[in-house]
Every structure is written in structure tokens, then in C-alpha cells.
Symmetry: C2
Subunit: 326 residues, 2 copies
Amino acid sequence: MATIKDIAKRAGVSISTVSYALNGSPKVTNETTEKILAVAKELNYIPNAAARSLKTRETKIIGIFLTDFSGAFYGDLLQGTKELLVRKGYELIVCSGKQSRWMLPERMIDGAIILDVTFDSEELIRYADRGHKLVVLDRELTHPNINQVLLDNKAGATLATEHLIEEGHRKIYAVTGPSGSFDSKQRLHAVMQVVERTAGITLAIIEGDFNKEGGEHAAKRIMAEHADGQAAAAVFCFNDEMAIGMMNYIAEHHPETRVGEHIHIVGFDNLELAAYSQPRLTTIDYSKRKWGALAAEQLVKLISGAEVENERIYVTLMKGKSVGTA
Amino acid sequence: MATIKDIAKRAGVSISTVSYALNGSPKVTNETTEKILAVAKELNYIPNAAARSLKTRETKIIGIFLTDFSGAFYGDLLQGTKELLVRKGYELIVCSGKQSRWMLPERMIDGAIILDVTFDSEELIRYADRGHKLVVLDRELTHPNINQVLLDNKAGATLATEHLIEEGHRKIYAVTGPSGSFDSKQRLHAVMQVVERTAGITLAIIEGDFNKEGGEHAAKRIMAEHADGQAAAAVFCFNDEMAIGMMNYIAEHHPETRVGEHIHIVGFDNLELAAYSQPRLTTIDYSKRKWGALAAEQLVKLISGAEVENERIYVTLMKGKSVGTA
DNA sequence: TTGTAGGCGTTATCAA
DNA sequence: TTGATAACGCCTACAA
């Protein structure tokens, strides 16, 4: 492993000259710079990240912390994050699990994006107190070193609920996420607001889990309550994954029940998968890529010491065929 | 940021004693160890990863390089990798894109698992030549510092093809992956072997891309060739993603054509998504979790200097409802 | 324009 | 059992 020392010796200059030349400093003659670069190539020189960051106190790496690697949901978000970071000269690494959290305090990463409910807010604040920069996507946290980029859950849930109401549905089921989820709480709150200000609407809340299983369980219960087959059910699943689970359950166990006709479903997220569902799921859409890119941008600003305001990701209603008129 | 120096001063001992104590060396009295630990806690001491790895020349981090973050496919694999690594005292980071490759030569990671066709084999060999340890999941590479953990493509493709033949199909379409894919090549080779040694089978090869689009294009072509509706088509899609794309295309454009009856499809991978397809896709199954775990295990062994043999992941035929008798 | 030298925070080799 | 001290590879005043 060649070091700048080796290059210096070989090129007949001092190590500081090598360092300057390698970093493109104008203090060194073009001539010597070229010579040094040539020697570096010849020696297969590769800088040592540890040594560099020991000195500079930065790694140019950003970490994003996810609850798990299951993915279906994260693809575009990660892509968006990555693209922006690369443009800003940073690298992205994806981490998951409690064990990897040391990377932040030990300065292996220059900052982190958090999308992991299992990460305690207290722990995050501790890190922020120590000067680490964070962007959170899944909670509200006020701290000078923390910025939030949250989905506009209120708008999304309102759009979804109002859509069901406009189509003439009077009894609405809301299938929530797990109890700890911030997004789920916000969505439920918005749903309840809409219901309260609209006359003649009944709301039934079913606790879900943001997974397919949750949608299946909810489907089971809803189908049981509508066993007589007279009234159509209208359901707002707080994410697409559960909506898909619900549609799959219905297709399998109640083939005579048609989504969009006997049961009406709206989701949230507009997963790629939702586009392939039969019928196409009506859902709340937003740009996951933009979400990731914005989070990254905020983090980079935070690291550079700039003041940043919290941001919001806007959502729209994406009409499919899973909701029909009552 | 407290350092061991600060702790030494505060505890009235030398920095080497602190270092030993922090690393649980038996050379230090319990008494002083306790005292040092107490001071460390009091000072909120956090070790500095850069300094440590500058000295130890290791980071205890393993990187896995993927072509993209799209995920659907990788979830379990990453989970399996992660679990094993954590058990062995390593951390896993997920990387993608050319830019992140510096992490290997600059020793930011102790080794890498490669599942990224865009990573040139020559580049990998260069790294291996420099002493870096690698495990490749998507190609064959013989080098003392590189280990392979490959799918048993031959067995899988043979199982799939023979299944179609056993069900009485005589004309078989093979929808391949992109031309650069090692897995695709191996699968195609196996398919051709089966066809050659079985009388009366015709094989049509359609180049795909391992994405849904590839499946759709292939579906279009196959449906056109079977426009008369007389002969049923039998298709082996080289991965589930294409098989799903094919099924979706058919459901959308040829609702009268029933998969498992008028067209017979077998996939490869047994994605979670395949379990939700209608009808359930017949496919080749293998444990993605085990694949990841085995790759990690091999890499850890390689790093520890042990001799390791290349490994293979065994596959089985998972019968669904997408293939029926001719 | 180039060289000297100190230091970043640890580990590890010697002595004591 | 503990303490000096020299690396590890790089950056950066400051000096020449």
C-alpha cells in the first residue's frame, strides 16, 4: 500500500507537496503536480480514508437508517437520496438495525436520514446534542441540528376520505398503521376531522400494521360484517401494502366480491405494485424520489451550517378503479 | 468530544492504561478498570472509528454492492447477510453505484459482497490483487481472495423446463435476462441441454431484461404468435419479475386468455410477489436469506485468512397454478 | 513554490 | 500492573 510518503520519496519532493498536488492546490507548479500524479498512478496510490477523516473530521458519507431491508417501499426514495448526495459530493450507505447506530457517534458518517420508528427520539436527540446532523422522515422533532421532511399526511388522508364520501359512501373503515407510527396518527386524525365535519358518516377504525397481513385481517373482519352482502363497504387503508393484502384476501376468499363494486378501497403511497393490482388501486400519490432528494438536500445544508426550515412533501389523489360510486 | 487522553488525565492514569481498560484487557486491575469506565461514562466518551481503523487497519464493516436499490428482490438476502455478520461482529452497509466503490480500496470496508453486474470483473480482480476480500454472487471468478456463492442455475432451469415438458408441452419459450447476465446464460444453457436431449421439443428464445417490461414484451410477441388460440404456449421466464409482467400484460390485454390453461408460465426466484399473483406462479424457489448468510459467512472466513471453497445455493421447483397440463 | 513539523485519536511495543 | 512513546497516513500552518 503506497502512501504519500512513498510518492514523495519516489518523486523527490516532500510529503506536503504531494498532499497539495493530490488535492489540486494551486500552490504547486503544474510541472511538479504532473510528476507527482504520474508517480501516484505508477505506485497505484490509493488514499486512506481513515487517515483523511481523522484529520478532516469528516467522511463525506451519509447514512440512511431504515427499519428493515424489505425494500418494496424504499427503492425510489433511496434512488432520489443517492442522486442528490452524489451531486453534492457525498456517498450514501443504507443501514438497518440497532447495531449500526454507532456509525453516527463514532463519526463514520457525517449525518443521517432517519426512517426507522425503532430509533428512539431520545437517542436521536442525544446525537443531535453532540452536534450530529439529522433529517427525520417519520416523526416531529425540534432541534437546531435536526430537520424534518414529512409527508403531508393531513392532505392525503383528507383527500382519500373525501373521495370516498363524494362517491356516496356513508360507512367508512379506516385501517391504521401500527400504534407507534407518526404517519398513521396524523392520517387518522385527519380522517376523524373529515368525518366530524360531514353529517351522516360513520367511521370504524381497525388497527393495522402497514403490512399485507394487516390488510388481510381487516378484510376478514369487514367481510364478516358485510356477510349479508347488502351494503357496500368503503375502506381507507393507511398504506398500499395493506390495501393489496386486502384485495388479495378478497380475491382468494370471496371471489364473488368485486373491488370497486361491492367493496371500495383506497390506499396510500402509490407503490409500483399498486399499478399492477386488479383493479388498479385508488391511492394517494407522492414522489418518493423527491422525498429522498429533499431529505438529502436538507441534510447537506444542515451539515454546511446553513439554517433550514422543515419541509413537507405534497400529495395527490391518484384515481384507480378500486373505488366506485355507492 | 472526549478522548482517551481526557479520560487518562481525569482518572489520573496513562492513556495506554485507558486503552487497555476500555478494550477489557486483563492486564489492568478491576479497580482501575472500573474507575476508568466510570470516568469514560461521565465524560460521554465515544471512540473515534477513524483513529481506531487507522491503527488496526480494519473497520469491521462489510459492504454489499447492488445494481440498484429497487429492492423487491433483495430484502431477505440482505436480512440474511446482516444477521450473520452481526453475529460475527461485523456491520453491514448497502451500497449502489460506481461512486461508492472507493470504499473498498480506501479500506472503509473490510470486504465486499458483489451482486451488481455493472461492476466489472477486471476491477474486482484488481481489488482482489491488492488484497481485498470479495464474495461474488453473480459471476464466476477464480482468485485466492475471491469466493463465489452462486445459485444452482443449472438445476433450476432444468427443473423448470422438465416440468413444462412433463406437463405435455412441446413448444417452449425461454425468456432470458439481459445479455450480460451470468445467471441468464447458465439458465439458457441448461434449458438448451434439456431440449436437446428430449425428442420433439421446439424452443424459442426471447431476449428479456429481468424486469416487468421484458415480460410484457415477450407476452406481446407470444400472444401474437398464438393469435389463433389453438395451441397453448408454455413459457419459462428466467425470473419472476418478468413472469409477473407477462401475467399482468395478459390480464390487461387478453382477459380471455387464462394463465395455467391457455398459456403456461414458470418463473425463477419465488419472489414474495409471486405468491400474490393470480393464479399463483409456478417458479423456482431457493432461500434468499440463506444465500445472503452463506455469502457473509464465506467472506468472514476469507477475511480471517481461512481457505474457503466456492458454494452453491440449491433450488427447488415450487408448483403453483400457472402451469397446467397441455 | 516547496519543505518542516505538529497533530488528529488509537493501538501496541517496550520499559519500568 | 502501569506508563512513555512511537507509529498509523494525512493535512496544514508556518518557515524557508
